[in-house]
Point group: D2
């Protein structure tokens, strides 16, 4: 994190006859890698490793599929009881600036609502539709809330909904760091294995200062500076799909 | 829940030539069963079905082992990240009046602290020990909090700890109804199958108004009135074991 | 399966005012759908649903990711013991004509060998390399065998290896239909939800007699006749990756 | 395994100022521990660690609950497809000399038959009952076979059944070493933690040459010689329960 720290790290690498680095992480990692290369002229290639999937230059980040499966498992267990009582469940998932986990999880479990930072949340619209659901005898529901939603996390959103629907029993689950652990899914392992091999090929090929990703099954190299400054957009088709499935 | 409701239910049973009932649940279920038998002279036998394990007259309740495994899976995932950062994780588990889930989970995951409703919680003692851990270079920790702890749930406890240890990063996970769902563990299935058979034998044997449990592998029949009014004590050996393992 | 059966089915559809069908399956299902449409002029759209992933016209089939995760979980459990004993484990996975499951699983678990129907298996080459591993003090190994490999299933392959390496302890696991069940992975749910919506859009758009797939995130419609007669090739990059990882 | 090896081990222990050992395992481990103590006068206490649960002197062995849960998960996945086709599934589980895993798993999944080494298997009785099931329109079934059954493993039993019921589609799953791995269940962790603490108390208390177990929640010390020579009987109530549930 400091010039002195990087100096030390550089000497350690030279001592051990390491002549290139493959780093895994997100914007912070790539920013550090850029500085390191500027200061010490050292070849570094990056792999996209963040559970949020919000990195530009790759369809999927390593860790994302595992996190989504963890959330889906949790939501399935809640659905087991959600279908037998008159309740609204609010599940808070990770995503300070992005709704990738929330959105995919919402589709996978058929959530009644998915609240993401990328789109404005209207509590009144939501409660109106939830009241409509209840009149249709849909007796329970699941709302997935990305932690960075503009109306707040799950506790805050549940409180606001309860104000307008005092007759409903609201329950909150906050998954927290559960989403960061666990055995990696098959998809993540294969993605990481493939990108790891591509990173080595890129270095052998003289490439540096780039993040390796897959876009439409093709290997894509994105300069760190571009990976850091660009933002991957939420898939609007998935947003629409989430709405259709909730009807 | 009302005399009229029970009257209706009785007629329905008679119509369908059902001459005995096996009910599964906790104190509420058994209280209702008692009333039903008093009002309609109908043989009922009960099975202990609550995830909290706090029913008198049985070593284990149906659902408890599944809930504990769910909590342990979640805590394992948190431990994956807990060992790599300088943080305190507070995991809130079910247990308004009892710490069975918290205690067993705490032992299973080697939690630094387990806070249960049955024993007084001293925040200052806890933070003193946690600070000691940090000085010993133990860089992270997990605290299991039963929702009914006298110092509050995980959010409240984390806030109080943070006041006294502002340098520490605290994170809260609230599992909520995840603990009530999921595919039953092998132990719970075998327990339920065995008790179900015992309930039928008890009815055939003319027994009624009793809960069927296993104590030390022996079938035990406990009158509903006794099951409702008595309380199962937390195993003090387990409490001690949790403390030893956290050292 | 018979013209009479299809006639009956047609009447049932008409009676219930159903004017289009979405079917899910593989070659058999699509062949039946083609005949049904020819005989009764009825619009049908298909979804690719087979765990083998060998359908042309889509990157992934519904069920494939779940099956691969199931196999990986099983292989992980074997790896737990494989690393502590001097043994060769042969795990037979599904795939009569295709090695998609075997290959992806092999990469995900770092198998020493992956035997697939698409490439010729040379037992002697394999045993020579395995002996080399043993001399290098690699004390155990996992070989993934697709059931349709040209040298036979796992039991047969293990027998042939044992003939040439009698000093090694060989163990066989045959996963069988475990691979066809279980709760669907997040990936499969989202894939199925998306393709389901696309199938409805295709029907509304007047399309029929086609399978809906995703290729490079784009919706692709493949006529049933083409889906049936074409074959999806095993990804050669993945084959190479499996070999690199096993070194 | 040899006197020289044990001599070496003894010096290593002395060098490291270790003055007592806690070993975990089954008959082989305890036999070795006995010899070691006889040759070197060294205090050893044992914990029952075998997935088969066939050790005398404890209700449960460490690892058994995890293995049973693994088998139940696998059988559940097979049941998913078993209920949709006309098939008989034979699942081979561990147990060369004992049917504990097979029996508990059979009850947990409601298997049609459980074949264990402790009781004689009559293939003809079984096929007669299976034919009866089919006439009752029960369209599929699961048979759990302990590997040490007197009629052979699952492959052999399936072959014999197929001879008498050629019209039925038989499928075999052999779980093998999957049963020995995986993350331990909550029950196993708590059991191991408790017995581990008891082993230390026993050593502090001057005990040696004994296995520590729990019988009816009470700590029980069994001399190694007795643990080795005695056999735990299969619970006949469970055998009967398995039969009742299969009706």
């Amino acid at each position: 994190m400091t010039p002195e720290g990087r100096q030390k790290a550089y000497f350690r690498l030279i001592e051990n006859k390491i002549d290139a680095l493959v780093v895994i992480g997100g914007n912070g990692t790539f920013t550090g890698a850029l500085k390191f290369d500027q200061e010490h002229d050292f070849p570094i290639v990056g792999l996209p490793g963040t559970i949020d999937n919000d990195l530009y230059g790759t369809d999927y980040t390593i860790g994302f599929d595992t996190a989504v499966n963890t959330v889906v498992d949790a939501a399935d267990k809640i659905r087991d009881t959600a279908t037998s009582h008159d309740r609204l469940f609010f599940i808070e998932v990770m995503g300070r600036d992005s709704g990738f986990i929330a959105l995919r999880c919402g589709i996978a479990v058929g959530a009644e609502f998915v609240l993401v930072p990328e789109t404005k949340t209207y509590i009144e619209n939501m409660t109106r539709l939830l009241k409509h659901d209840i009149r249709k005898n849909k007796t329970s529901g699941i709302v997935i809330v990305a932690e960075g939603d503009d109306e707040g996390g799950a506790t805050e959103v549940a409180r606001k909904v309860k104000e307008q629907m005092p007759e409903v029993d609201t329950r909150v689950t906050i998954l927290g760091h559960i989403q960061r652990g666990g055995s990696p899914s098959a998809y993540d392992r294969i993605l990481a294995s493939g990108l790891g091999a591509e990173a080595v090929y890129a270095l052998l090929d003289g490439k540096r200062g780039v993040m390796v990703g897959y876009v439409d099954k093709q290997t894509q190299l994105t300069p760190f500076s571009e990976a850091i400054s660009s933002k991957k957009e939420l898939n609007t088709r998935l947003l629409e799909l989430a709405r259709i499935l909730a009807l």
